[in-house]
């Protein structure tokens, strides 16, 4: 048996001047990540590099896999062995992970997947910024499911939301996505890491009965999240990507399938209110509201500030959670204001926002390659004011 001893602190409490990728890695460490499996890809590589150095120092495991298919599979395996597990990638790798993400959804495997987005389709612009994987986070794997995805806008949020992602993943037993972008991954700012005891923490629901008492690994209570037994604990679980009964055994029953897929969706959707985080900036009296997220929200905030200086009552709804979609917040805002959605893609969130509003949503879009600057957003605000 391998004996691992921690000789460095997991939580580096204090103020740091680090980039978003490194902050994400520190967030994973602070959250108790036990295994990182990944494959190098720009612009996420610094997360792997940082964890390659840091994880072994705190008793964790870093493994560089042969590809993203294997990375995602190893993360799932590690989770079932009891570890908090994570991978980080960018669009091309995120594409390769989708099949195993679906396995994680159906088998209710907690894990965290970080996508530091770059412009696609395909290899696109590897070193530049983009937000064009938003819909892939929602629909990337086949079948019906409801993901949870966060969009950090700063290195501080790369840290905070990575910690939150581990907690959400464990609490709901789902893969959780950090939909970062190259700008946020590579910008360097102050990151304040709190004391270990001040970090939010929640854990997987666990079996209360000892092994041998007919444990049903997929029998969920009113909270819709079944308790999770790990490999090696004596429960002799069987876990399959086939549609399965509460016992975990495969079935061909359409009724069981419908019940299972609905529960998997409902366990997320019923918690949509608590899961959908937004930041409201100057919205109380706003005539025009910009909806933005991630790196683009930084430009949007500047555009709104300039508009205010020019006497235009503008505000910002910054989406922190992308999935479940903060439709209620947008619907409410759509009744009071004219909406502008600004994003580094050709309207993925804008189109979703339109489903929640009666009027048209004004789009400020760019396919990616540079951070959307404040000017076109300001222009849109002024036109709509």
């Amino acid at each position: 048996m391998t004996v691992r001893q921690a000789h460095q602190e997991r939580v580096r409490t204090g103020d740091h001047f680090i980039n978003g990728d490194v902050a994400c890695a520190e967030g994973a460490l602070a959250a108790g990540c036990g295994l990182f499996a990944g494959y190098p890809i720009t612009p996420s590589t610094e997360i792997a590099e940082h964890l390659a150095r840091r994880l072994p120092e705190v008793g964790g495991t870093f493994v560089q896999m042969e590809d993203e298919l294997g990375s995602m599979a190893a993360v799932l395996g590690a989770s079932w062995a009891g570890a908090r597990a994570m991978t980080a990638t960018s669009g091309p790798g995120f594409s390769l992970m989708q099949e195993n993400i679906g396995w994680g959804v159906l088998t209710e495997t907690p894990c965290v997947v970080v996508d530091v987005q770059r412009p696609g389709p395909s290899t696109g612009l590897p070193t530049q910024t983009s937000q064009s994987d938003v819909m892939q986070a929602k629909w990337g794997s086949h079948g019906d499911y409801e993901p949870v995805a966060y969009a950090p806008a700063s290195p501080q949020e790369m840290f905070d939301l990575t910690v939150l992602a581990f907690n959400t993943a464990d609490r709901l037993r789902i893969p959780v996505f950090i939909m970062a972008d190259e700008a946020v991954g590579h910008i360097t700012e102050r990151v304040r890491i709190p004391a270990a005891e001040a970090l939010p923490s929640s854990s997987r629901p666990r079996p209360t009965d000892a092994p041998g008492n007919g444990f049903l690994p997929f029998k969920a209570g009113p909270g819709l999240v079944p308790p999770m037994a790990h490999a090696g604990e004596g429960y002799h679980i069987h876990i399959t990507g086939l549609t399965h009964t509460e016992r975990g055994y495969p079935t061909n029953s359409a009724e069981v399938h419908d019940r299972l897929v609905r529960r998997l969706s409902d366990k997320v959707l019923r918690r949509a209110d608590e899961l959908t985080l937004v930041e409201r900036v100057w919205l109380d009296d706003a005539q025009v509201a910009v909806v933005a997220y991630g790196g683009t929200a930084r430009s949007a905030r500047q555009a709104v500030r300039i508009a205010r200086e020019r006497g235009v009552r503008a505000g910002l709804l910054r989406l922190i959670t992308l999935w479940p979609f903060p439709g209620a917040a947008i619907a409410q805002l759509g009744l009071q204001t004219r909406l502008v959605v600004a994003e580094s893609n050709l309207g993925q969130v804008a189109r979703e926002a339109e489903r929640y509003t009666a009027g048209q949503v004004y789009r400020v879009t760019h396919a990616g390659g540079h951070l959307l600057p404040p000017e076109p957003i300001l222009e849109a605000i002024l036109e709509r004011a």
């Binding site: 042969e66 490999a231 399959t240």
Partner: protein, 281 residues
């Protein structure tokens, strides 16, 4: 003896009896191989609560569903990568990958290469039935040349993998090939492999009368078993490179242990060493 009927089979506690009968066709060897593995595991002295089986997709992928252990039926081709995560996150677990030739060596081939390169502490069992059986008998990475399958209606043209040569060349700690007929020898190989550390490989040839046998004059399962008996040759002078499988009545079928810690040279690369330079236990 007045009573020969018993209500339990010796392997009952080792299998998920409530899931039987299994889905495998009459004449298929996967069930025998599974029971053989479980018997070896039970006799190994390893705590069964610490033993894990990981499978991919396909007929052999269903093994995970019948063993009474912590068992995982993963995605197509990714069993070894998944098992790598299990093992690394909890090194106390004895992790065995059980899957078929298509899953392990076509869609999942790259993971095999890299798991051996890392000398990952896994036992990988490949039931090789020369075709994609679950989907109805298509050609796979071990389909012998000139064999008929639903996707090689004029006979297979591509060179198949010789899995013993592949494993030996990559540097596995242990590699053996038996058939679903040679269960006693197979059990010995499972027992040997379970006592070693590092990447261990056991290939088991299995009849697939529905998907492969009938179309290739191998007949029913029992007739393919007879073929294994007639053609099977255990000769330690046969190197892994020479251990081709032609499935023809005019050529021998090389079986045996091709790599183990005591046996080096003979044409194959030496066994892989762990990071500490130690081979095996």
């Amino acid at each position: 003896m007045s009573e020969i009927v018993t209500t339990t089979h010796p392997t009952d506690p080792l299998l998920r009896a409530e899931r039987l009968p299994h889905i495998w066709c009459p004449g298929c060897g996967i069930g025998s191989v599974t029971a053989c593995y479980m018997s070896a595991l039970a006799e190994s002295g390893l705590p069964l609560d610490q033993c894990v089986v990981v499978s991919g997709i396909g007929c052999t992928g269903r093994v995970a569903g019948y063993v009474n252990l912590d068992s995982f039926h993963t995605t197509h081709g990714r069993a070894i990568a998944f098992a790598t995560g299990v093992k690394l996150a909890n090194p106390r677990l004895q992790v065995t990958v059980f899957s078929g030739d298509g899953d392990l060596f076509a869609i999942g081939g790259n993971h095999f290469l890299h798991a051996v390169r890392r000398n990952t502490d896994l036992l990988v069992v490949c039931v090789n039935n020369f075709n994609y059986a679950m989907t109805g008998g298509q050609a796979g990475p071990t389909t012998p040349r000139h064999s008929f399958t639903t996707t090689t209606p004029r006979g297979a043209t591509d060179q198949p993998f010789n899995l013993q040569h592949l494993a030996a060349a990559l540097g596995v700690v242990y590699s053996a090939r038996w058939t679903a007929l040679h269960l006693r020898q197979l059990k010995t190989s499972f027992s040997q492999a379970l006592q070693l550390h590092g990447f261990r490989f056991v290939e088991v040839l299995s009849p697939c009368p529905v998907g492969f046998g009938k179309a290739n004059d191998l007949g029913e399962g029992i007739e393919e078993m007879e073929f294994y008996r007639a053609q099977g040759v255990v000769d330690r002078r046969i190197s892994p490179a020479e251990a081709l499988i032609e499935m023809s009545k005019s050529t021998p079928l090389p079986l045996g242990v091709f790599v183990d810690p005591e046996r080096q040279g003979n044409g194959q690369a030496g066994p892989a060493k762990g990071a500490d330079g130690v081979v095996g236990r």
